[in-house]
Each structure stands twice: as structure tokens, then as C-alpha cells.
């Protein structure tokens, strides 16, 4: 029991130790160079100023972080759901794949910075344009990866199922779709930070809540500590969400090569 606890502590230290050291060094270097070169705080504030700013206004920062995180997660779920449905439709036939892929690419290549103001005109200042922007930016990587994962199913397994006269639907449910999980999780790792960016960009054009709005306000007031504070919170959010995906990946893909560390006696 005690040994187990020590092992766990060792394990956490193994993962948390290196990034903590790196960040501490970066911040120390930043702090020292700003102070030595006497750069004005309205150009580049030292990390200590930023941390004081965040701590003194912690409730405001937390509220805005939650708003942006909600938009990003909501948009991510919406975009991923549509992408997964799209991928399963495209998996049914090469015809549908050829037909729908250009549409998906069109959505992908349209710069969100260009359509964000348009969405404000169409959908107003509320939650909807933010969700949609985050969803659009999530859509493409999830779609492409989900489809690639389903197509990568072992032909031996599909042959086996076909030799038993399994229906197309059965083959998809039993083999192809679960086979795409590793690909899906990889795409989530890409899409989650993108969804956060989408939500922030959408906030630049509308609304007064969220970290994106905070950045715009700080920029207008030349309040650099606040601007950096918001960016810090965004970075923290990104780390939190990515860690969450990594955790889900570890639990869900225990069988996959990417998660294999030990247990392999083959």
C-alpha cells in the first residue's frame, strides 16, 4: 500500500517534473531579461507582473476562461459529431467520398478570420456564431482521420466477416468504426486547440465575455499584463484539454500499439 503510493508519486514526478523545470527556466530567463534590459512593462511585462494581475482578478479570469472553454468544447463536440457522421457516410461508397470531399476541403480552406464577422451578421452576438466557428475548425481533421481509420481496417477481419455474410452495418459496427478510434483520438489532439482558437477569434468580433474579448479590450487599453494574463489562461486551458484527451486515449486505446509500454509477452 505504502509502496504503491510511493510508486505513484514517482510516476507523477516522472511526468510532471521535466515540464515544470523547463517552464521555471523559461520564466526565470524572461523575468531576468526584462528587468536587466529595462523594457517598458507596456511593451513586455515580466511574468511576475502577469501572475500578480491574474491572481488579483482571479474571479474575472476564471469566469472568462469558463465562457471560452464552454464555447470551444461545445463547438468541438458539434464539429466532431458532424465529422464522424460525415465520415461514416463517405465510408459507405467511394462515390460519396469523391462527391463530399471537395465540400469538406472548401470548409477547411475558408479562413475563419474571414467568415467570423459574417457569422456575427448572420447569427448575432450570442453563443451560436462562436460554437459554429469552433465547430468548423474542428470538422476537417476529425473527418479525414475518422475516414482513414475506418478504411485502415484489416482486410482479413473484413474478409472473415464477409465470409459469414455479415451485413455492411455489422462490419462497420464490429470492425471499421472501432478501428478508427486511434485515428480519431489523434485528430482530437489536433482539433481541441484549434477549437479554442476558433472560439477566441469568434469572440474578437462579438460579445463582451470570454478570453478573446478580454484580449481585444486589453489591446485597446494597451493593458499588456491583462493581455498576457488572458493568453496565459488560454495556454492553461489548452494544456488541460489536451491532457484530458491524452487520458481518454490511454483508457480507451489500451490495446493499441501507441499505448503499449509493458505487458507485451508476444
Amino acid at each position: 500500500m505504502r509502496e504503491d503510493l510511493i510508486n505513484r508519486a514517482k510516476q507523477s514526478l516522472y511526468w510532471i517534473g521535466p515540464p515544470v523545470v523547463v517552464f521555471a527556466l523559461v520564466f526565470a530567463l524572461w523575468e531576468i531579461s526584462v528587468r536587466v534590459s529595462e523594457i517598458e512593462p507596456y511593451l513586455l511585462p515580466p511574468p511576475s507582473r502577469i501572475i500578480i494581475e491574474v491572481v488579483t482578478n482571479i474571479s474575472e479570469y476564471c469566469l472568462n476562461t469558463l465562457v471560452t472553454m464552454g464555447e470551444a468544447i461545445g463547438g468541438f463536440i458539434l464539429g466532431a459529431a458532424v465529422a464522424i457522421i460525415g465520415a461514416t457516410v463517405m465510408y459507405q461508397s467511394r462515390f460519396l467520398e469523391r462527391g463530399l470531399l471537395p465540400l469538406a476541403i472548401l470548409i477547411k480552406v475558408t479562413p475563419i478570420i474571414a467568415i467570423a464577422p459574417l457569422f456575427v451578421i448572420w447569427f448575432g452576438f450570442g453563443l451560436l456564431p462562436k460554437l459554429l466557428i469552433a465547430a468548423i475548425i474542428t470538422f476537417f481533421p476529425v473527418l479525414v482521420n475518422c475516414l482513414a481509420g475506418m478504411r485502415a481496417t484489416s482486410s482479413d477481419i473484413t474478409d472473415l466477416l464477409k465470409s459469414l455474410n455479415a451485413s455492411k452495418f455489422e462490419i462497420m459496427i464490429k470492425a471499421s468504426f472501432p478501428n478508427s478510434y486511434p485515428y480519431l483520438l489523434s485528430s482530437f489532439k489536433i482539433a481541441i486547440p484549434l477549437a479554442v482558437i476558433g472560439a477566441v477569434v469568434a469572440e474578437w468580433f462579438s460579445g463582451d465575455r470570454g478570453l478573446g474579448s478580454m484580449i481585444i479590450r486589453a489591446n485597446n487599453n494597451l493593458d499588456m499584463p491583462q493581455l498576457f494574463g488572458a493568453v496565459f489562461m488560454l495556454a492553461l486551458m489548452g494544456i488541460l484539454l489536451t491532457t484530458l484527451v491524452l487520458y481518454i486515449e490511454k483508457k480507451l486505446l489500451f490495446w493499441h500499439d501507441s499505448q503499449k509500454v509493458e505487458n507485451d509477452i508476444g
Binding site: 484489416s154 482479413d156 477481419i157 474478409d159 472473415l160 466477416l161 464477409k162 465470409s163 459469414l164 455474410n165 455479415a166 451485413s167 455489422e170 462490419i171 464490429k174 470492425a175 472501432p178 478510434y181 489500451f254 490495446w255 493499441h256 503499449k260 505487458n263 507485451d264 509477452i265 508476444g266
Partner: protein, 257 residues
């Protein structure tokens, strides 16, 4: 209930990317009797796997017919009469041993047979007691192939098609698997078509060995293995056994040139 595999005048050719037609099977004919074990031996690329895919109905022949227990391959598929085993165990990595073996009974549910063996019985038949809830990545190569065998047998197939099932196993594991397979088939008695390029393996397991020609133009040679159904390790060193292996090997060489 004759469980026969009948192949009449089956031909198949592939057209390669540069437009050249490549004939792999040219009017192949044979009949495999009820509960008979037949091996097909031949060099790589001679169409062994293609033949198995045609028999199982996964691939349509250009011409000719296949009859399994009186039905076409498509009907045999829908009745779940075909057991299939590959060189790769092809297990589903996110399913346990138990759930992998159960897979064939989960699909095409219109056909369920009260004669199906229970999963527990299959697990003990292939000697994997205690490993029911292990995942494929936790098993050795030989154990994975045992799961694959149990899975193929889970629907109590009338015919069992095996495509170099032991090809990727090490020598020691393969030797034990041979006798385990024979013992299992003695209990389940399906008709077996076994593809291999190992002459010794073919003679050890089979009632008859078909030697495929290297090119489709050649003729298939048949070697009868008159060793009786019970095989033993002692037999492997007998004169007759080695004569038969040499016979397979020489017809292999003879059709090759």
C-alpha cells in the same frame, strides 16, 4: 449433409496495372470428400489464396462453379458453413479472447445453430483456459493463432479453409500446433482445405496433397497420403513419410520448371 467441396473448371485472371492479363487459375477441378483433409502446396503467387477466396465466395471466379455441401458459396456464407483462418491471426485487438471467439456468432444472427459449441468449450479445446479475459496483445503468437482457430470453429463450420495458418509461427510452436489441430479436427470433423508451402506440414496433416503448378498452364498433381488418420511424431521419421514428402517436393519441382 455431405460437406463436400466441389470445384469445377474454375478460372481466374487478374489484369495488372499495365494492362497485361495474368492468368492465375486455369480450369481447376477437384472434389474434396466429407471430413477429408486436403492441403494445397505451391510456390508463392500460384493462386492458392485466390482459390480459397473463390471457394469462400469472397471473390467471384471468371468462369466455373464451386459447390459446398450442395450449395453455392454465397448460400454457404449466409448459412455460416464456412470457417476461415488466415496466416495473420487477424484478431480484433480491442476484444478479449472470449469476445474474439464469439465474433462469428454475433453477426448474421438470422442463422443461429443450437449445435454451436459454447465459447467455454472452444477455449478449453484450444487450451486457453485462464486466458478468457486477456487481450490479443497479451498473448504469444501461438496463442493468438489458437484463438483464431477457436474463432473459425465457433460456428461449427462444415468446411474449414486455412490459408497458411501456421506460416508465421516458429518451428517449435508450429510442431505442437499440428498435433493440436489434428486432435481438434478429430472431434469437430469439418472438411478442411489447407494452404501451405511446407511439404512436410502438408504430408503430416493431410489425406491428400494437391501440388499447384507455378504457372496456370501447368497441371495440378495429387499425392495420396496413405498413412491412416492417426498421425504421430514417430511416423514423421518413418521411411514412408519421408518418401511422401519427397514425392510432394519432386512434383513441386517438376511443375515449377
Amino acid at each position: 449433409m455431405n460437406n463436400r467441396i466441389e470445384v469445377y473448371n474454375v478460372s481466374k485472371s487478374y489484369v495488372s496495372k499495365n494492362g497485361v492479363e495474368n492468368k492465375v487459375l486455369n480450369s481447376v477441378n477437384f472434389v474434396i470428400k466429407h471430413s477429408e483433409f486436403v492441403s494445397i502446396v505451391g510456390p508463392s503467387g500460384c493462386g492458392k489464396t485466390t482459390l480459397l477466396k473463390i471457394i469462400s465466395g469472397l471473390l467471384p471466379p471468371d468462369s466455373g462453379t464451386v459447390v459446398i455441401d450442395g450449395d453455392s458459396p454465397e448460400i454457404s456464407q449466409s448459412k455460416k458453413h464456412i470457417g476461415y483462418m488466415f496466416q495473420d491471426p487477424a484478431l480484433i485487438p480491442w476484444r478479449t479472447v472470449y469476445d474474439n471467439i464469439r465474433l462469428p456468432t454475433e453477426v448474421n444472427k438470422a442463422i443461429t445453430d443450437e449445435h454451436y459449441r459454447t465459447i467455454e468449450e472452444l477455449i478449453s479445446l484450444v487450451g486457453l483456459n485462464g486466458f478468457e479475459y486477456h487481450y490479443p496483445y497479451q498473448l504469444s503468437g501461438g496463442m493468438r493463432q489458437r484463438v483464431s482457430l477457436a474463432r473459425a470453429l465457433s460456428i461449427n463450420p462444415k468446411v474449414l479453409l486455412m490459408d497458411e495458418p501456421f506460416g508465421s509461427l516458429d518451428e517449435i510452436t508450429r510442431e505442437t500446433m499440428h498435433y493440436e489441430l489434428l486432435e481438434l479436427l478429430d472431434k469437430t470433423k469439418p472438411t478442411v482445405l489447407f494452404v501451405t508451402h511446407n511439404s512436410t506440414e502438408a504430408v503430416l496433416l493431410s489425406d491428400r496433397v494437391f501440388v499447384m503448378p507455378k504457372s496456370a498452364a501447368g497441371a495440378m498433381k495429387i499425392v495420396n497420403v496413405n498413412l491412416g488418420r492417426t498421425r504421430s511424431e514417430k511416423m514423421e521419421s518413418s521411411v514412408l513419410f519421408n518418401q511422401l514428402v519427397n514425392q510432394v517436393r519432386s512434383s513441386y519441382k517438376c511443375v515449377k520448371t
